[in-house]
């Protein structure tokens, strides 16, 4: 909590160029809660400082401080916040307005909510130019097209006239970056600029920021993702609970971390290297034994044959979102489906669960008809297939505490509890199985953390004792260390219970870590499938190759 947290930059990070931004002993609090506890750092022209941390580490608050947007009820204090010789500690609202956009550009995570839906993209990009009195209407319009072109937006004249919702996520993010660099600010603060993006688009956006850095812009990159950071950062500050626990060159922090927390974060990243190992430190009493998989390749528990799904859009045009997809899921196996947004992987999962009806093709469950039978007939076999969603909270009835959620699920199984006491006892056993305790029975899911909620969702899926669990992006909303624990839990449960997973994710690292075999989907089609090792080692399809090249890796740092 004291000045001991102000870690001095090591000798290797010293630079002849003077610092553009110097922050010393920055503290930010909301009410009684101090969320940034005296951190110091510098940013140099043409360099990139990455601030890495998990939810609640204070990294986003730090970013917002640098643009004077900490929000209502915040209290900021610092010994020094200098931007090119200007003391920002005393800046008034009006002075901040002249700094933002001109001196400091700010890129936010979600371009869809950061851009005004009712205004044209071009007007949004021109906004900083207009506010700072740059040129006239016509010259601004020309500049906007130049900017959009510079950030790699195709057909910039057309896109400038469209509205944000008409653009894809990647294009919106690029428009946002264009607006942040419109006035060529010396410093760009990017808060999770690629988190909402697909991996190939993420690579393009990172390249864009790298190009900006080459031109001499100083970049402060806020991210929870160490592999993204590896691609861009020169220096890395690792934050935890409002303090910088480690600071150093990107190479040193990512390859030779000094602090145990950094090491744990790095270990928690799933990738090709982590297959068959635990991501999080094992709990007491659990030895880290290599896994023994018992996969029965003669017995498909779930079999999809030539699935096709056609949706009709509001414009009455048919769109084929799943196109001739066939696969087998064997007992005890994890089959990964990987693809970018819009590839049809979630629709495929929903068809497998018989929650969406396929336009043609069918699904067999334990070699018996499943998708083709009536909903009433399905109800009696539903207990054999469970589901875990990306957002567990919204999949729980908001009025129900954990115990009721589990009891309800237990009742749908083949051995429904005969009494309330038995239901409760079995709910407790389920909670213990997923690493929670009896105390959580009475808790409302709203009061649980993200990881705990996903554990409850797993317990609920396990309650009817299914042989198959469909996991639809089960860890995408979680911090990397929590993700590691949840992935470990899923693996342990598979070893213990022999369940099969149909595991859907956009994250190639997660897919590689978890899957025995993988399916790669693009535009509704299965472009590649095979053993995970084989596909990752020698991808046959150009799209898979592109995905793998785009994947940020620590090894490239």
């Amino acid at each position: 909590m004291t000045t001991s947290t102000a870690i001095e930059p090591g000798p290797e990070t010293l630079d002849a160029r003077p610092a553009l931004l110097t922050v010393e002993n920055l503290r930010v609090s909301f009410g009684d809660a101090e969320v940034v506890k005296g951190i110091s750092f510098t940013a140099r022209p043409g360099g990139c400082l990455a601030i890495v941390g998990e939810t609640g580490s204070g990294k986003s608050v730090t970013a917002r401080t640098l643009v004077g947007l900490t929000g209502r009820g915040s209290h900021v204090s610092a010994d020094r916040i200098d931007l090119a010789g200007v003391d920002l500690r005393r800046a008034s609202g009006r002075e901040w307005r002249s700094i933002r956009g001109r001196e400091v550009g700010f890129v936010l995570q979600d371009a869809l909510v950061s851009l005004d839906q009712l205004r044209r993209v071009g007007d949004e990009v021109a906004e900083p130019l207009r506010l700072h009195g740059w040129g006239n209407r016509r010259s601004r319009a020309e500049r906007v097209v130049e900017l959009l072109d510079a950030v790699g937006v195709p057909e910039p004249e057309v896109k400038a006239r469209q509205r944000p919702y008409e653009l894809s996520g990647g294009l919106r993010q690029r428009a946002l970056i264009a607006s942040a660099i419109a006035l060529d600010p010396k410093l760009v603060v990017a808060d999770e600029p690629t988190t909402a993006l697909d991996v190939t688009v993420q690579a393009q956006v990172l390249d864009l920021l790298a190009a900006s850095k080459e031109r001499g812009t100083s970049i402060i990159l806020i991210s929870h993702d160490l592999s993204v950071v590896a691609r861009l950062a020169d220096q890395v500050a690792v934050m935890r609970a409002g303090e910088i626990v480690e600071f150093g060159s990107a190479h040193q922090v990512l390859h030779d971390p000094k602090h145990a927390y950094t090491q744990a974060l790095l270990d928690a990243i799933p990738s090709e290297h982590t297959r068959g190992t635990r991501l999080a430190p094992p709990a007491d009493g659990v030895s880290d034994v290599p896994r023994v998989r018992k996969i029965d390749r003669d017995r498909p528990v779930l079999r999809a044959r030539n699935l096709v799904k056609v949706f009709q859009g509001p414009d009455k045009i048919d769109r084929t979102v799943v196109n001739d997809v066939s696969f087998d899921l064997f007992a005890g196996e994890t089959l990964g489906i990987v693809g970018e947004s819009g590839s049809g992987k979630t629709t495929t999962a929903r068809i497998a669960l018989a929650l969406t009806e396929a336009t043609s093709g069918d699904v067999l469950l334990h070699e018996k008809p499943w998708s083709s039978i009536s909903a009433a007939a399905r109800r009696t076999v539903r207990k054999q297939i469970g589901v875990i969603y990306q957002d567990p909270l919204s999949s729980f009835d908001p009025r129900w505490p954990v115990g009721r959620i589990l009891a309800d699920s237990l009742r749908t199984g083949s051995r429904p509890p005969s009494s309330k006491t038995e239901a409760q006892e079995r709910a407790v056993r389920l909670l213990e199985q997923v690493g929670l305790t009896r105390e959580h029975l009475t808790t409302a899911p709203l009061r649980l953390s993200g990881g705990q909620r996903q554990r409850v969702a797993i317990a609920r899926a396990l309650a009817p004792e299914p042989g198959i669990i469909v996991c639809d992006e089960p860890v995408s909303a979680l911090d990397v260390s929590v993700q590691a624990q949840v992935l470990d839990l899923l693996t342990d449960l598979q070893d213990e219970l022999g369940v099969s997973y149909l595991f859907i994710s956009h994250d190639l690292g997660v897919i590689h870590h978890m899957s025995d075999r993988i399916l790669v989907m693009k535009d509704g089609r299965l472009v590649e499938q095979g053993d995970a090792e084989a596909v990752f080692a020698a991808p046959a399809h150009p799209y898979t190759q592109r995905l793998l090249t785009a994947l940020p890796r620590l090894a490239q740092a």
Binding site: L355, V387, S394, S395, P398, G403, K420, T442
Partner: protein
């Protein structure tokens, strides 16, 4: 699952703190409590009788003895206001309940059945909605003739279309909620899902809306009475008091102003409580 209840022990101090931070809520609760006492035990608040006529004390202005003054028949106005609370509040609550009942039937049918039924109900509601609520209410009075029951039904029918649209929207909202699908994915029957998830969750936000509606209904009922289409005299219902005092407005201001203020006060209090409830429920949902 008897053991599963929310840890209210932990939450109640929170609640008390909220109340302290919101003096409006405390004041509003106080007004409603006084109104409830007036409705169920009017004798506690006033020693006089609402109907006893004192011809030697007509149209006295407010004084210590007659807080709200007296009317043209010498009756104590404060007492009449107190005794009128039961009818006014009753109409407010009753009419809202009627409106809600109608709204739930139509809203849930439209939202759950969908298709052509939904289209028909929605169109019908839109037609009704395009009439001012008071006009709908007057239509009911015209058909049935003025009485207490008519007033209840009139105000209820008048405000039902608005609620029905809200109920339908809620049902559509909750129907698409992931937890409803999750329940189906567990293998529950459709009617179990509707009973256990859809109904309670769609209904929850309406509780606050209903409370807001009570205040509105009180005002509308008073409007009807004021127009002479409400409870016939000598009832001390508040709108009727206003109607009766209209002839003396130039000489005896208190006959209009004071009952009017009481209507406004109770309507504001109930509405304010409704808002608080709404915020609480919305906060709890997310």
């Amino acid at each position: 699952m008897t053991t599963i209840t929310l840890p209210t022990v932990v939450r109640s101090p929170d609640w008390v703190r909220h109340l302290r931070a919101r003096p409006t809520t405390v004041l509003a609760s106080l007004v409603v409590v006084v109104a409830l006492v007036a409705a169920f035990a009017p004798g506690v608040l006033t020693p006089h009788s609402p109907t006893t006529i004192h011809l030697q004390q007509t149209l006295r202005s407010p004084s210590w003895h007659h807080l709200f003054g007296t009317d043209e028949a010498g009756r104590d106005l404060f007492t009449r206001v107190v005794y009128g609370t039961r009818e006014s509040l009753g109409i407010g609550v009753g009419a809202t309940a009627i409106a809600m009942a109608i709204a739930i039937v139509f809203g849930f049918t439209a939202g759950l059945v969908g298709g052509i039924v939904d289209s028909l109900i929605t169109r019908l509601l839109e037609v009704l909605f395009s009439f001012p609520a008071l006009l709908l209410a007057l239509l009911v009075v015209a058909v049935r003739g003025p009485s207490l029951e008519t007033e209840l039904i009139a105000v209820g029918v008048g405000s039902a279309p608005g609620y029905a649209r809200m109920v339908r929207g809620q049902v559509l909202n909750v129907r698409e909620a992931p937890y409803v699908e999750a329940a189906s994915a567990l293998g529950h029957r459709r009617r179990t899902v509707i009973r256990r998830h859809l109904f309670p969750n769609a209904f929850r936000p309406l509780v606050a809306v209903m409370t807001l509606g009570v205040g509105q209904s009180i005002v509308w009922a008073s409007s009807l009475s004021f127009l002479g289409f409400g409870v016939p005299p000598p009832s001390p219902e508040w709108g009727a008091l206003l109607d009766a005092g209209r002839d003396f407005i130039t000489t005896s201001w208190w006959l209009e102003i004071l009952p009017g203020l009481v209507i406004v006060l109770l309507a504001i209090a109930v509405t304010s409580l409704g808002r608080t409830l709404q915020h609480k429920l919305e906060g709890a949902a997310r």
